[in-house]
């Protein structure tokens, strides 16, 4: 794939003595859709603001096409930002908002008119030129904010939870639309969100962050199927995380049972986290030598049922299934070896 357009080298940021970012290293390739994903306070927005130039790093470097841009003010950077609360200019109409960046560059009026019209049609808001931005709905304001940033043809577009304030349906539409825009224009997108589903839907690469550190970098499939640690597993989708012991290669003991798995390379009798996705557990009626449990709650979720099953040791498993087992049914839990993920224990404070 393309060259590295942005590189973060040992980047740290402190606010009044507290470390928001603890030395992260990351490169972003051209035309990539990268999502910084994590709970609030994980440092994802700080990272974005460092790239945008609104904050200066405490140490480390932000490289743009290989050159250090730590001290470059935002207005000289070839990146544009879509802000969380849109940050449209309230005293200008839609046209002037979008034209703002071009006017600063003293672009010819005819060119401005043409480009603004093109942007408005791209975000499906033709004919909105004269409207005041305060008369627009959240979704429309969001589109204007995107148009205002993209009209400057930035090399990199930074998006700070841009869909956070929209309702679910609109958010899903906009996700697809953003992805299409990114593909069509071939611009690098760096997208910040705490919504794992959004991250999985749109990204080429997901960077999972927690407490100022990067937990895992990978494609959506990697992150979902092969989470590196319990935090990532838990954050990306629902998971059952249980303490286990790796007896030897391909054999793990948890919940009082020894099961076959596909992982190897751990020390013998090493304590591990065992992660099983709720949709990977099958409930059967069998008294054989399996993990036994009892259904304690059932919630209908639309596509599937979410059941909680308490096993013989009292651990509560979350199970997703399209077939329902009524509360109080005795069931056995079965898991395929390849669906058992073994992770080294990490000490996250």
């Amino acid at each position: 794939m393309g060259k590295h357009i942005i590189e973060l080298v040992d980047l740290t940021k402190e606010y009044d003595g507290t470390e928001a970012l603890k030395g992260i290293n990351l490169y972003i390739r051209q035309n990539e859709f990268v999502t910084l994903l994590g709970p609030s306070g994980c440092g994802k927005t700080t990272t974005l603001r460092l790239i945008g130039g609104f904050e200066k790093p405490t140490s480390g470097a932000v490289l743009f096409e290989g050159a250090n841009i730590n001290d470059m003010p935002p207005y000289k950077r070839r990146v544009n930002t879509v802000f969380q609360k849109y940050a449209l200019f309230p005293h200008m109409n839609v046209y002037e908002n979008i034209a703002f960046g071009l006017r600063i560059k003293k672009t010819d009026n005819a060119v401005i008119r043409e480009k603004v019209a093109a942007m408005l049609s791209m975000v499906n808001l033709e004919g909105f030129e004269k409207r005041s931005v305060e008369s627009l709905s959240g979704g429309q304001q969001q589109r204007i904010a995107i148009a205002r940033a993209l009209v400057n043809e930035p090399e990199v577009l930074l998006l700070d939870e841009p869909l956070g304030a929209l309702d679910l349906k609109l958010r899903k539409e906009m996700q697809l639309e953003l992805k299409n825009i990114q593909k069509r224009l071939g611009i690098t997108f760096i997208y910040v969100t705490h919504d794992q589903e959004e991250a999985l839907t749109m990204s080429d690469t997901i960077v999972v962050m927690q407490q100022g550190t990067i937990q895992q970098i990978g494609t959506p499939q990697d992150i979902y199927n092969e989470p590196k640690n319990a935090f990532v597993a838990d954050f990306i989708g629902e998971s059952n995380i249980i303490d286990g012991v790796m007896l030897e290669d391909y054999r793990v003991k948890f919940a009082g049972h020894v099961l076959e798995c596909v992982d190897r390379g751990f020390g013998s009798n090493e304590s591990v986290d065992v992660v099983v996705r709720p949709e990977d557990i099958r409930l059967i009626h069998d008294n054989a030598n399996l993990l036994q449990g009892r259904v304690i709650s059932v919630i209908f979720k639309g596509v599937h049922y979410e059941m909680k099953v308490s096993d013989e040791n009292g651990f509560e498993w979350i199970v997703h299934s399209t077939s329902m087992e009524p509360v109080d049914t005795a069931v056995a839990l079965t898991i395929q070896p390849c669906d058992i993920q073994i992770m080294k224990k990490v000490r996250t404070i």
Partner: protein, 275 residues
């Protein structure tokens, strides 16, 4: 509207203390005692005001008020910017420091300037000590303008400060992000967004400045005549309440007109200049 009765005391208050006095002033302005002592309807009071001597007083009042308003704006805007640029804890302290002098009596503050500016006052003693010539600005236009600026500056700073501190930080960042350096950000974003504050600041300084009589009396000397002094004299020295009322009405019209002009520049939704 339901529960309209809760506003009755307010309406009563307004009638008693605003409407009635206004009507009285209007009545006096339109009447004059005839030789037998009865009040008769006449426009003479207003006709008298058109005489050059009074027009000159009016013009001087307006020029001085405009000058001090302009100075307040030039000084006050940067002050408001500095205040709003601080983080919250320090900002409140600074605003407090700025407002504390206003807690002192207005007269007292103006008297203080008299002692400062006096021929043998504090300022001249200091100047004399370092061997500089004395400054005789007490009882001049400059002293009156100084007094106006000093007394009314907070009324310029506070509305601008309040508008500035409400500007969303991310709007400024968005402008920087789109290529504006700090001067362009100010010109294209901050100043236009703070304009309602500037408008109410101008109104709030101009109005008391154009009507003041204390500042001009104390710092301009007893012969110094602004329109406020003219009105005061009619009531307290000359006892021509009819002419005094007419001048007051003219003054009120002037203020109404200037407020009307200002509110045209005010954004319809952000204002609050009128009333």
């Amino acid at each position: 509207m339901k529960k309209g009765w809760v506003s009755y005391p307010y309406i009563f208050w307004m009638i008693l203390f605003t409407l009635v006095p206004l009507l009285l002033v209007l009545y006096y302005s339109l009447t004059a005692p005839d030789p037998s002592g009865n009040s008769v309807l006449t426009a003479d009071n207003f006709r008298r005001f058109i005489e050059p001597i009074y027009i000159k007083v009016l013009a001087r009042s307006i020029v001085l008020a405009l000058t001090s308003t302009l100075i307040c704006l030039l000084v006050g805007y940067p002050v408001a910017m500095i205040l709003s640029g601080r983080d919250l804890s320090r900002r409140n302290l600074l605003v407090l420091l700025f407002v504390i002098p206003m807690w002192m009596n207005f007269l007292l503050r103006t008297y203080a300037w008299m002692t400062l500016l006096d021929r043998k006052g504090v300022l001249n003693s200091l100047l004399g000590m370092v061997g500089l010539p004395r400054l005789n600005i007490l009882y001049t236009d400059a002293a009156v303008i100084l007094g106006m600026v000093y007394n009314f500056l907070p009324f310029m700073v506070l509305p601008i400060f309040s508008v500035l501190s409400k500007i969303d930080r991310s709007v400024v960042e968005a402008a920087e992000d789109l290529g504006s350096d700090s001067f362009t950000v100010f010109r294209r974003i901050i100043f236009p967004l703070s304009f309602p504050g500037v408008v109410s600041g101008i109104t709030m300084v101009f109005m008391p400045a154009v009507t003041t009589f204390i500042i001009s009396k104390l710092l301009g000397g007893s012969q110094y005549m602004l329109i406020g002094n003219l009105i005061e004299d009619q009531f307290t020295r000359v006892y021509d309440w009819n002419f005094g009322s007419a001048v007051s009405i003219v003054m009120m019209l002037l203020i109404l007109v200037s407020m009307g002009i200002m509110s045209r520049y005010d954004k319809e939704d952000m204002g609050g200049g009128l009333l």
